[in-house]
């Protein structure tokens, strides 16, 4: 239990806005083991990106972060910005959604990769450049010697994302946070990037937090999944378990609403309604107004994240699944 790479404990990230307090992340707990790939899934506004930015300490001053984020037993929230700089890009690195806006347009790809190597590993300029070429080669960029001298706009979207991955991996991080790494890409390019990430994780043994709204991408990449809804973790399970026996009605709805290639149905399954406004979050379970199984209790009390099975946690009073026909959990 003590060899977790990352442990997030009671993380609360609140934003103070003129309209009120937005509880973007509210009481989030999870653990990441070394070398494992965990998916963080949810719809826009559920707090998945804010969680990752909280880990990286990259949020603006308006954010109030509480709780503990233990990375190798050290609390990242207690670190100064200077100490964080030594960790970011070195022990923990990040891949962003849009390579076009995340890369600096006025520096060559090589300069941007070697900057990290020079800062974190103290390499000389020439040596750092040579290593940058090696990493571009590793991520499958053809003729890397030439590409290393090019500016981001000279690369295609897929190539830019590969360059970002090279940059994120060049210091051998222990944890890689990938925030929607393939959302902006085309399907065939997405398939290439996913293949690449799978291959690299086998080779480099990096732990990955894969943030995405696409359950299909999660199914391909991850060993475990954390499902978030409206700032809460609603379910944590191993990937096969989650697809076979989802407990939370929201997870069930998400899985059902994916258009399936094999079956032709007249209408797709839809989760009715919309995500609640974070400023007017209802009391009780955050999902109750969209839930098929909700009742009075759900409207008034919020369930806790409860362990139902080995490695399977759910935040619901009436977790459903086919085998059990629904079990009621004790309220505290």
């Amino acid at each position: 239990m003590n060899n977790n790479l990352l442990e997030v404990k009671e993380l609360k990230t609140h934003f103070h806005t003129p309209e009120g307090i937005v509880k973007a992340v509210d009481d989030v707990n999870f653990k990441i083991n070394p070398g494992e790939t965990v998916g963080l899934v949810g719809e826009s506004g559920c707090g998945k990106s804010v969680t990752s930015l909280s880990i990286m300490n990259l949020l603006p001053d308006t954010a109030q972060v509480q709780g503990e984020i233990l990375f190798e037993k050290e609390d990242l929230l207690k670190k100064t910005q200077q100490e964080m700089r030594k960790i970011r890009g070195n022990d923990i690195s990040m891949i962003f959604q849009e390579p076009m806006t995340a890369l600096n347009p006025v520096y060559t790809v090589g300069e941007q990769i070697s900057e990290a190597l020079r800062l974190h590993q103290g390499l000389q300029k020439k040596k750092a450049m040579r290593k940058a070429v090696e990493y571009l080669d590793l991520v499958g960029i053809p003729s890397p010697e030439r590409r290393v001298m090019e500016y981001p706009h000279q690369l295609s979207g897929g190539m830019q994302q590969r360059a970002m991955i090279a940059m994120a991996l060049c210091c051998d991080p222990k944890l890689l946070i990938a925030d929607e790494p393939t959302t902006a890409l085309d399907v065939t390019i997405q398939a290439q990037i996913l293949e690449l990430m799978k291959d690299l994780k086998e080779r480099l043994k990096t732990a990955i937090i894969m943030i995405t709204h696409d359950l299909a991408v999660i199914a391909e990449m991850c060993e475990r999944v954390i499902v978030m809804y409206s700032g809460r973790v609603v379910e944590i399970a191993e990937i096969k378990e989650l697809f076979k026996r989802p407990f939370h009605p929201y997870t069930m709805g998400l899985i059902k609403s994916i258009p399936k290639m094999e079956v032709k149905t007249e209408f797709l399954y839809e989760i009715e309604g919309v995500v609640p406004n974070p400023l007017e979050a209802p009391p009780g379970c955050k999902f109750h107004n969209r839930c098929d199984f909700g009742d009075e209790k759900c409207r008034e009390y919020e369930p806790d994240l409860t362990q139902l099975d080995k490695n399977h946690f759910v935040r619901c009073f009436y977790p459903r699944n086919v085998d059990r026909g629904g079990v009621e959990i004790e309220t505290k």
């Binding site: 295609s156 399907v187 398939a191 293949e195 258009p259 149905t265």
Partner: protein, 327 residues
């Protein structure tokens, strides 16, 4: 393309749209981006024709040209016997009443300073569908209810709505003129999964109730499969395969279609996708390869593909392929 003309509302033949590339001191035209290069298809009354392809394949340009938002370089398109590209003045206005468009991004395609009532009311006034305030309000409320919103939403501004609700307003706007056909340009790709299915179901219900014809442009094959009767696959300005939805997924013939299908992540952790990822990127449309456009990435390439452009062959009834292997 020889198809029987019965039931076709829109017939596009040999459509081309080239964008000039200007360069040099005098900014003379030094080349062309062949965004849409010689494509032909028909859209039948009451059906949904899906157009899929990756970014830069020309699918959105096709939609815009058919909407007369861009002028074509060559080719023709008939809408109910009239050539779309010859329309002027009142006739063009009338065409736009019959054919409407839904845009991809519900955040940028709605006027931020107008309430829903103002936005929809302006259209109704311009086309003289409703003139007085009460008539306009009545029609706007009717439209809002049609797309699953309520009467109390009409005084609100776009920023007060969520992404899915904004897309509903976009749909209401397209419906305001009682069109016969709607060109949907990636209507769900900016939305979350659970909202995506709401919008797709709404589009399907509206099609049934109002007898609409859709040209549905998207990059997501699983969405297109779900909504379309027939599907056209585009690659680098060319239509590479066109057939019914079931046929395309059961029996894809073009190597590009097969690669696209294989590239879709499978939402099932028990199954692993066949590792047949096509390599490389889409070539630049300003400098497409000679011969077949797909030859740089094609797993079944033969020497002939490098030199000769394949034709758009009919393989069986209602199945057309742009490939030398299926002549």
């Amino acid at each position: 393309m020889k198809q029987s003309n019965n039931g076709a509302v829109m017939k596009v033949s040999n459509l081309k749209k080239y964008f000039p590339i200007r360069g040099g001191v005098l900014s003379r035209t030094i080349g062309h981006v062949k965004a849409v290069d010689n494509i032909s298809f028909e859209v039948k009354q009451g059906e949904t024709l899906g157009i899929v392809g990756e970014s830069g394949c020309g699918k959105s340009t096709t939609g815009k040209v058919l909407m007369r938002l861009l002028e074509p370089t060559a080719g023709d398109a008939l809408f109910e016997e009239d050539s779309i590209f010859d329309l002027k003045g009142q006739a063009l206005k009338d065409y736009r009443k019959k054919v409407q468009m839904i845009y991809q991004d519900p955040f940028s395609s709605l006027q931020p300073r107008a309430t829903v009532e103002d936005m929809l009311g302006e259209i109704l006034k311009y086309h003289r569908i409703a003139n007085t305030r009460t008539e306009i309000r009545k029609r706007v409320i009717e439209l809002m209810e049609m797309v699953g919103l309520s009467a109390y939403h009409i005084g609100r501004y776009p920023h007060e709505f969520s992404g899915g609700q904004r897309q509903r307003i976009g749909i209401a706007r397209a419906l305001s003129l009682d069109p016969e056909m709607i060109i949907c340009d990636e209507p769900v790709s900016a939305l979350d999964v659970s909202i995506q299915s709401q919008i797709i179901n709404l589009l399907k219900k509206l099609q049934k109730n109002l007898n609409l014809t859709y040209l549905f442009i998207a990059h997501d094959l699983s969405v297109v499969k779900h909504i379309s009767d027939r599907v056209g696959v585009m690659y680098l300005g060319k239509l590479v395969e066109l057939t019914s939805g079931e046929e395309l997924f059961a029996n894809p013939l073009h190597p590009y279609t097969r690669s696209l299908l294989e590239a879709i992540p499978v939402p099932d952790p028990e199954k692993t996708r066949v590792k047949a990822v096509i390599k490389g990127d889409v070539p630049s449309a300003s400098n497409p390869p000679p011969g077949c456009v797909f030859q740089t990435r094609c797993p079944d390439k033969s020497p002939r593909c490098e030199e000769e452009k394949p034709g758009f062959h009919q393989v069986k009834e209602d199945h057309y392929v742009y490939c030398h292997m299926h002549e």
